[in-house]
Amino acid sequence: MTDAVWQRPITELARRVAARTLSSTELVDAYLDRIARLDGDLKSFVCVSPAVRDAARAADAEIARTGPRGPLHGIPIAIKDNYTTADLPTRAGTSVDALTFPREDSHCVARLRAAGAVILGKLRMHEFAWGMVSPPTRNPWDLARVPGGSSGGSGAAVAARLCPAALGSDTGGSIRIPAALCGVVGLKPTFGRIGRSGIVPHSWSLDHAGPLTLTVADAALLLEALAGPDPGDPAAHAAPVAAVAAGLDRPIRGLRVAVIRDHFFDGLDGAVGAAVEAAIGFFAGQGCTVRDVAVPSLRYGLGAIYAIELASSAAYHDRSVAAGHTAGFAEDVRDLVEMGRLVTGPDYLRAEQVRALIMAEMAAILSEADVIVGPASPLTAWRTEEASVALAGRSESVLAASWRLTYPFNLTGLPAIALPCGFDGRGLPIGLQIAARPFGEAVMLRMAHQYERAHAWWRRVPPFAG
């Protein structure tokens, strides 16, 4: 069954589409068939596009006429439901009917369409990207467990091979957490690298757009397609993206790895710790230098991101609170959105000042290192009904634990990628996290790609989706 198209990464699908041995229509039909068979249980899609087969036929016709526009031409991609789309409704995970979103393509969806991708459908998410659970989506490795969040539908759908790639968004870890818990690649590029206009905002200075894919090379393809100026996003960087995909095979010997031993290695599940140490050992074995470092200011990180995220989200949802719409939110999200008013102005700006401290300490580390390597999540997927877990002998809420290792790179805006680095005793995937300097995606992806090539965890398909 290794020939089945749904098992293959986009890099290979693109070659077959270009060689006319695979049509977009065949590909879309293969995924539609899988969605029909599996998503009743997985619950990762909010909706499947009724126009997707027409779009695939149009792509096939154009490819037959003039060849593919690029590697994404004819490739079906699914979209987190906080990106607006012209042909599909956007709900951002909320069931409050009074809140509606524009029927127009967000910047990223427009770029995907321009690259020839066909939009397969919209994926479930934790309401307004506030949370790490994404109900009712289930984890394909164990349907009794959560897929992570907030891009839980994106992680579950890619892991179950219901689409070869998905878009997610990441404010405190919402791409990398579901990637880690579902065993796929999740890329949060540098803040500003991918334009965000048309994504329902959560926290303006923390929100990042990015892809979830099966492989690092596919993440590089998506990054190249998505990066670039976005007139609708003041934070979007105008600089053209470097050709990251082409350089993935360049040697990593001599690259410098920093391991932040405080914060990132506190309270880790045993299997997670062992898998991450093995990955660090792999880089050492490849001729990278490995150095242990510390970021003491991270002890203030939780207060900083809480203040920024809560204040921003409260500002965005202010009219919904005044109009009483938040009463229709899920209880956890309603509490967070409404309590944001309790963050004072000075607290918010002090949080930004603390952010500068953490940024400076990270910059000092990255002046002597090319990448930072560590775990993406201290724990593997937890059971849906679990509220807390024991980590290193200490009880911690799953929500607090889940974003502890990802939010530092939202505060600092540094590029970070999560990719599988093994499985625990229950067969649940473990996530590795690699970060780099601002706009250092090329070296980060190279390190990730070469780890992935040597281990190929991505080839494991969840038994549920086999």
Binding site: D335, T344, R350, A351, L357
Partner: protein
Amino acid sequence: MMELNTFSIAARCPRTGHLGVAVASAVPAVGGLCPFLRAGIGAVTTQSWVNPYLAARILDGLAGGQAPDAALAAALATDDRPDLRQVGLVDAHGAGAAWTGAGCTPAAGHRTGSGYAVQGNMLAGPGVIDAMALAFEDAAACALDERLMRALEAGDAAGGDRRGKQSAALRLVAGEDYPLLDLRVDEHGAPVAELRRVLEVARRQLVPFVAGMPRKDGPAGALPDDVVAMLLEAPGTRPGAAPAVPDPVRDVMGLHQEAGRIAHLLAQFAPVLAEIEVLRTLDLAHIHPPLVFDPSLPYRDVPLPVPHD
């Protein structure tokens, strides 16, 4: 049975014969269960593991001509657990008596003096009782309401109830079957200070009204015109009205949810606040936040002219 760990004073004014009790505690609504007064008979406060019937029996005893000590002893004799009770009283002549059972929570004690009885239990220390007595004696030139209030404030300042504070009350009777003053703060973070605030408002807006009320041995009559005029005003525009103080959460922070919802949000916010409070301890004045204002933002689509000289 409720344990009213409390500090209180029962007293009589030697000039007017008014009787009064002031009390504060770390339970809600102490004013409803502790003080019992009967005009022309006596003032009693019953507390600790409170038995309100003791107060009624003491007042009956005083009314029947018993001396305070005798009335107190007779009442305690009817109780199978006098060791748990604390009682203080004065009679219509200002003679005081008090009882602190051995089972009252320390620090516990009482003191009687000319025209008063001061008592308390579960106190921050024995100094509370002495501070109250001293404040009452020092204010001998003042009216009874002020003397009682000062005694309560002195007890509060000396540490008061060692669990904290929750409610306070001030009750005075003159010769009528209704109280001269009956003020309660039933649930408050600073109940004694709040009681003082209420007392100041009551002196301007309530005492003149009560002074003009019908008496049992005189003509019912009508209120003076200026009192009527004042009471026809809205409370906020009367003399002594507290300036409108905005509620910090509702009015200042703009959280307009109903009270229960706000309490829930505050509870949910507590762990976040704990993290934010750590940030407040840092000296960050020298750090520019990584927010850089960009005045050119709206002009990005329209390039700015290049200046030349």
